[in-house]
Amino acid sequence: MRLSSEANKADLQIRSEGEKFIIKLAGRLDASTTGEIWRQTQQRLDRENPKEILVDASGIEYADGSGIAFLVDLRCRQQDRKGKFKIRELRDELNQLLNLYAPPTFEKPPPEKLQSFHIPEELGRLTYTIWSDWKASVIFIGELATNLAFAVLHPRSIRWREVLLIGEKAGVNALPIVVLISFLVGLIMAFQSAIPMRQFGVEIYVANLIALSMLRELGPLMTALTLAGRTGSSFAAELGTMKVNEEIDALLTMGIHPVRFLVITRIAAAVIMTPILTVFADLVGVMAGSLVLLSMGYPLVTYVNQVLSAVSWIDFSQGLLKSIVFGLVYSSIGCLRGLQTETGPSAVGDSATRAVVGGIIMIVVVDGIFAVIFYILGI
């Protein structure tokens, strides 16, 4: 049979003499011709299982890696079933090549092991992962607490220039998206609640609803969630890349603690910027609510008076207090995940994902804790 691709041609003839199998090869054995020869020979061999194979290689003009691999495969198969194998008249340079690739001692690799899945094993591994994650988190919280305490007692030790730069990137540049989201949330909420309230003729209380929920809950929460996605992930990716590039190791060997040098600055920036952005979010959200009442024919002054009668400084400062804690939560989780980054191309991406997921979950959990505390305190 004749196989060809472009200019390459190879010939295969198989004949059997009793238990002896003679494979005659000719032409160019390369990646484009070997595949077909390989399949054809394999089929015959599997069917007939010969005791002895003789390869007549006198006609081979050229063989590249795949051609040589074919010869090696024949040899290994015969070795496995303890049959005889011989190659006749292989050209000198090809013989050298064969020995180069696979000296006579070469053994075929065992077939790939399929990964098995055992439930107890996986369960154990999962438990261990969760446990070591907790441990790492506790260690990090401890390191963070001591370094934060030190930073609060010695404010001059914080690298304020760096804090300013990070604050610009993580805070100032996030203003448009925070404002947009709180505007839409305020507007949508006012619109949705105005329609049922109108049936009872109490649409003016939309102002109370918007003001209370924006200041106490949605302003800080939406801002923190947005920043957890935007800033928390960037902290994790940044520190993760530094870890992969051995920059963290360089800091450690210089005797500079990465938590003090990298994490404190980021947390300081986040703790300062989150409440500021929350103020913007509160303001814009409440303003957006007014648009709905204005469109229903109420004058702006009515809305403003209603808002002022509904909320007090306590509501506003509750929201600010929460936003400070939210800032601490998402920035420290972002930094922790960044510092935990392992090696490999997907490591940084994994860290960023874990930072966002962890940040969002913890923000909501902390929000719930605050709700309980404020309820008990009666404010």
Partner: protein
């Protein structure tokens, strides 16, 4: 030497650089088929940049590179693929895909470009790994092996499709002398037995003496080729003092 005298690579008046910075200016040279050709130069002289331009990763500012008579930058998509199949490249860092085992790294081009049966692909990847001394590491991830092993695995991947031309960027850097010598042996035997043309960027002198048929030396300040020829000859007879100093490992006068 199996060199048939045919120029398999022609670099014509090539100027390479990034934006405004010209790194290599107006260089021309030819590489013959089956030759082991070394691009040499101090740090920052543009060796790797020149290599990138030759394999089409960097568009030259002027001039062109012909690989087997064809210009990679001017070819259409089909032509580019045809040219790319003739070359294999080993990058300085290895550039193995971190999410795949060594064997999968090698099998990827086989799966994409050949119709070989599955077990043939497995065996070929195993043979190539054996060739670079990595038998038994088929199922390791790149992050689980040492830097030198990564380098050898990268050479194996570069030659898995049996290209006619292999570009190696710093194959010896970061390897111990014994492994370096093994890589040199590998290069020599591949060139002699398979007739593969090698273009090697390096500044490891022992390697150069061991393998190089011919070399060019780039210079940072003049951005040109300051020497071309056989390494042994250049060491003793070059009329450029910088070239002689390079081969004798002497510091530039007044540099320290």
């Amino acid at each position: 030497m199996t060199s048939s005298g045919k120029n398999i690579i022609q670099v014509e008046n090539l100027t390479v650089g990034y934006d405004e910075t010209v790194i290599v200016e107006d260089v021309s040279f030819n590489v013959k088929e089956g030759e082991i050709f070394v691009i040499l130069g101090g740090s920052g002289s543009g060796k790797s940049t020149l290599l990138k331009a030759m394999i089409g990763l960097l568009r030259p500012l002027a001039g062109r590179t012909l690989i087997d008579g064809e210009d990679l930058c001017a070819a259409d998509e089909k032509g580019q693929l045809r040219i790319l199949k003739k070359i294999g490249v080993m990058y300085q860092s290895g550039a193995l895909f971190g999410s795949m085992t060594l064997s999968e790294n090698l099998r990827l081009p086989l799966e994409e470009f050949t119709d070989l049966p599955r077990e043939a692909r497995n065996l070929i990847s195993c043979l190539k790994l054996n060739l670079v001394g990595l038998k038994g590491y088929e199922n390791y991830m790149p992050s689980e092996i040492s830097g030198g092993m990564k380098k050898r695995a990268a050479i194996a991947r570069a030659m898995v499709l049996d290209p006619r031309i292999l570009f190696l960027d710093e194959p010896a850097a970061g390897l111990d002398p014994i492994t370096q010598a093994e890589v040199d042996q590998l290069v020599l035997s591949l060139a002699r037995n398979l007739g593969i043309t090698f273009i090697i960027v390096t500044h490891e002198l022992p390697s150069i003496y061991a393998v190089a048929d011919r070399l060019i030396m780039l210079d940072k300040s003049s951005r040109k080729i300051i020497a071309e020829g056989d390494p042994h000859y250049l060491r003793d007879h070059s009329d450029n003092p910088r070239v002689r100093r390079f081969f004798r490992r002497e510091a530039d006068p007044g540099s320290v």
